[in-house]
Symmetry: C2
Subunit: 212 residues, 2 copies
């Protein structure tokens, strides 16, 4: 109990090494995604990413095989952020409209973070054929999750009748577009944007009592 | 009156030459825009455009100085299509909501044509700095036209109160997104898509009588 502590080894313990590797990989991703969003994928080289992190390009290859793998990981994070919301909402109670509101609000906030922005800005043809197929599949999954909530709301009468696929594309477009115009230096917080955007989508443009 | 017609010159008249030049320039644009939309701007070379038209690259330079000029002309057409609708709507009677509906419906249809698709798919950084500045300026103008109609509707009580800028981005996002998912081989015509999308935006997702 009172024995003196053993002198610490100057070499990191395996768990610290893993942790540090994870942190460094994360730093590569965060730097890459912000460069992709700012300059575009094509104009961003791994050299640029390395330079921004004060390392050389070979260091980047310790963490990722190539630019396509980095880009895919960025969009994967963004899409998973949206999918996780969908999964949460599926487990949540409430009618279709209540669940859809929760979904849309969180989705809108994801669209103001770098990985969400990357999902919207990345064109399919910027990914390798293999990554593109996986990216499309993931996007289809999230669309399906939203459409299911829309369909539930149409069935329970909380959401107005319509073509669930078209309704899903309409609301997803409004939300995805946030990633194109959001400016962190702008006057509104992500939450204010989310609330305003969801209110317009839920209540509609027309004044409710004046409607014919 | 009955004098025989002079034998026709095998050289084209100046007006025919101008007309033919216009048609050829148009063909270059239409071929380029469809390749840009399909493969992306970066992956499309003037060589590809020339090949698709059965000509050589120097022929393309008769009509355009470079790829940037072609891309700018493509997005200019798309944005002008949207702006023209805005100008028509400004001259049209009706309350804000009625005008906004007409605007949105025509806007949605533009988003299913190649030049409209190109506007939505082209990232600012794909244009040269000079073209980019002009493109941004044009997009700002169309946003202003829409926002004015939204503001008019909020003043006359036909459009529900809200932040006109955020409302404009929300509806523009839903409409712009059509360019990302529209498939000419899909089951709906551009007009059906436009009507469905506008109905959701105008009336909202919530069933009107069930709303709290």
């Amino acid at each position: 109990m009172s024995s003196s502590a053993p002198s610490r080894s100057p070499w990191p313990r395996p768990e610290d090494r893993d942790r540090e590797r994870g942190l460094k990989r994360e730093a590569v991703l965060r730097t890459a995604v912000s460069l992709f969003n700012e300059k575009g994928v094509h104009a961003t080289s791994l050299e640029d990413v390395a330079k921004a992190l004060n390392v050389t390009k070979p260091t980047i290859y310790h963490y990722f095989a190539n630019k396509d793998e980095i880009l895919f990981e960025c969009v994967r994070r963004g899409v998973e952020g949206i999918r996780d919301i969908g999964v949460d909402v599926e487990q949540q109670g409430g009618n279709g409209l209540e669940r859809l509101k929760a979904y849309m609000r969180n989705y809108a906030v994801v669209m103001t973070n770098d990985f969400g922005i990357c999902v919207t800005r990345t064109a399919d043809h910027e990914l390798s054929p293999e990554s593109r197929a996986r990216f499309r599949e993931m996007k289809r999954e999230t669309d399906t999750l939203i459409r299911r909530v829309v369909e539930q709301g149409m069935r329970d009468g909380s959401i107005a009748p319509g073509d669930p696929r078209l309704v899903t594309f309409t609301l997803a477009g409004a939300l995805n577009w946030i990633a194109r115009w959001y400016d962190p230096r702008g006057p509104m917080t992500p939450e204010e944007i989310a609330d305003g955007c969801v209110a317009t989508l839920v209540h509609g443009l027309a004044t409710r009592d004046k409607e014919k």
